[in-house]
Amino acid sequence: FCFLHGLDAEADLVGSLASMSTSERIKAIQKMPETMRKKREIRNKVLKEITKKSRHRGAQPSCCTQCLQGAAVSFRRFGNTLSEYFHQLRVWHKALKTIGAEFGTSVLSYFVFLKWLLNFNIFSFLINFSFITIPQFLAAEPNNLSFTGLELLTGAGYFQKTVLYYGFYTNATISKTENGPSYNMQLAYIFTVGIYFVICFLILLFSMAKFFSRNFINPQAFSVNASKLLCTWDFNITNEKAVKLKQKNLHTQIKEGLTEVNKEVLNFSVMERALRIAVHLLVWFASLGTAVAACTGVYFLSINNLELFMKGYRNDLESQTAMLVLPVIVSLLNTLIPFFFSWLGHLERFQTPGQHIYITITRNIILKMSIIGILCYYWINIVATSESQCWETLVGQDIYRLVLVDFIFCLLGSFFGEFLRRIIGTTVCMRLGLPEFDIGRNVLDLIYAQTLTWIGILFSPLLPGIQMIAFFVVFFVKKVSLMRNCQPPCKVWRTAQMMTSFIFLLFCPSFLGVLSVIGVTVWRLKPSEECGPFRGLSSMYAAVAEWIQILESYTGSKWVVWIYHNLITSELFFFILSSFVLIVIYLYWQIIQGRKTMTKLLRKQINN
């Protein structure tokens, strides 16, 4: 900070400000912890200093410099007006502010995450739509199936021969005119999907790093009580009821903190410790067992599902609704088993409430990811090798139905979980009171939906658009339900780290799993013979290999071929790259260790 002691310091400050660039100077003035009057004085002095300097410097005619300065000022004003208009485009800014004001920042983080995912899906949709779907419209085959309303739910029928699914896309090279510019659909499809996933990877990595560095807590130096007192007051809250609730919670927390001082000396006997460990193990065994049972059920159900397809495609109501059984059962399992897990969690006793929350979330993640995993196994091993006409479209339809039914269950969950619960809590059973907004469960639902969308992009390029609309509706429904039915949360846990943990959960089991599934699909599986852009090839990746072979015959693109053979397909390059990355990580880690020791030494010096 710039504390102004004496005129000398002020003259120094003015001098240093005058030598900065305009934007840096404005930022520095804005950040100064002085009153407005003082800041204005300093600003005027700095501007005078600048004009003095330029007058000393320039032998230029004064009207020219004045013109330039006038132009710079009006340009800055124009830039400011432009950024004002961009600020207006910030969607839902007011809604997010209201939610933060009434419910605090932890609930707000769920909605911020939802908005972030929505932007992500808008970006995915735009990429896929522009590079894959729009060219396909130019080479579309006629669709002679009839449209009944049921297709919106099942995704089959009329939709099978539309751009919704992989099977409709052509493998030809599209060109409007003879010898005109041509568009190779095979290459476009595989490169669009590939580059899209690389961009996603980079976005997730940089977002994680940004949130992590902003919100890193050094666990050794974290002062629990001091920060509880001085840093947890959420100045965003403006609702009177929420303020009173927060005060009551802080009162309870401080009381608990004080009584813990008395309970600190609590040695558990060996028997009690063994009992607690046994209970933990039992509960883990039960949860994992339930997850395995759920997966087995889903697996056998999906094999049944496939037999239904293979028996012949009948376009009547019974077989259409039979296709919905699998998604409904999967969503039911995803909704009901977490309640079972949280009931099991109450049987155990944890040292801190934070542990309880993290372990519950871990179990739910294991459940959801294993269900998705078993479905992927089914798709890759059973559907892809079955004798259906177009297995990619079948997978696409399955994913479409899963996404849609999950969306419907999300809305139903909001209805039952919050609306009915509020009615029960206020009329029938007054002891329960208003429900709290369950952040963990809702965030895991979002991550599950996004994982499905990512897997489905290869098989159904318009799926991000559908998910986009779904998230849009979910935002409004959840917001209305929150405002009408819920009360602010009692226990607030590490709000600043929430966004980091959400994105980390999105990255680690979810995105990496999707990458492996897509990788296996593109490299190992044989595309169907009669449909899709890769028909007849031995694998989807073979399209790239063939393209490189064609390029070899052109002299102008030898460098592309060289890069392909020596960098992308050569194992030595990836080995060198991995070793390099590992060495860099190790060096950074050593630097961090060194800095930690430095901080410890300095702290000792201050204390003595």
Partner: protein, 180 residues
């Protein structure tokens, strides 16, 4: 909304934009909020820099502040003479620091001043006790309050002088990113 407004001169608006984190439209909107508190006291023409001060009672009744337990301290910290009565400059300053665009260091500096009830540039035990009482609506017993404050000073005081200086406070904020 064009460029035609007659409340401020262009230089005044430029100065406000340079000194706060607000855009032109936000500054005008805040001016109208300020004026709505007392339309008979605040003129519509600020180009001759009138010296208008609104009393604390009006500021403290704004919906953003009226439920905040620290509203009096906030108004005192940002007012010119430390009595809670604010001119337009002070008003804009306050909202600029409280907005989401202000960096954390700046907010930490002002939060320190807010929690420093006796304005001696240190948060001593009596300041902390007043803070705890405001945070819990005076529902803890004095012994509990005293015990809690001792724990805080023990944890956060790095130079062991029995009170928190600005540097101690900033260190704690750095380590606790829940600070909002």
């Amino acid at each position: 909304m064009g460029n035609k407004q007659t409340i401020f001169t262009q230089e005044q608006l430029d100065a406000y934009q340079d000194c706060t984190f607000f855009t032109r439209k936000e500054i005008l909107r805040l001016f109208h909020r300020y004026r709505d508190l007392a339309p008979q006291l605040v003129p519509l023409d600020y180009s001759d820099k009138p010296a208008v001060t609104l009393p604390y009672q009006l500021i403290g009744s704004m919906p953003e502040l009226k439920d905040n337990p620290f509203r009096q301290r906030i108004a005192e910290v940002f007012s010119e003479h430390g009595d809670g009565n604010m001119t337009l400059d002070d008003f804009l300053d306050m909202f600029s620091v409280l907005s989401e665009m202000a960096p954390r260091d700046l907010k930490a500096y002002y939060a320190f001043k807010i929690y420093d009830f006796n304005n001696d540039d240190y948060i001593c035990k009596s300041d902390l006790e007043k803070t705890v009482n405001k945070l819990t609506r005076n529902e803890l017993t004095p012994e509990e309050v005293s015990l809690a404050c001792e724990k805080v000073i023990y944890e956060a005081d790095a130079d062991n002088d029995g009170k928190l200086s600005l540097a101690d406070f900033q260190q704690m904020i750095l380590r606790a990113p829940d600070f909002l």
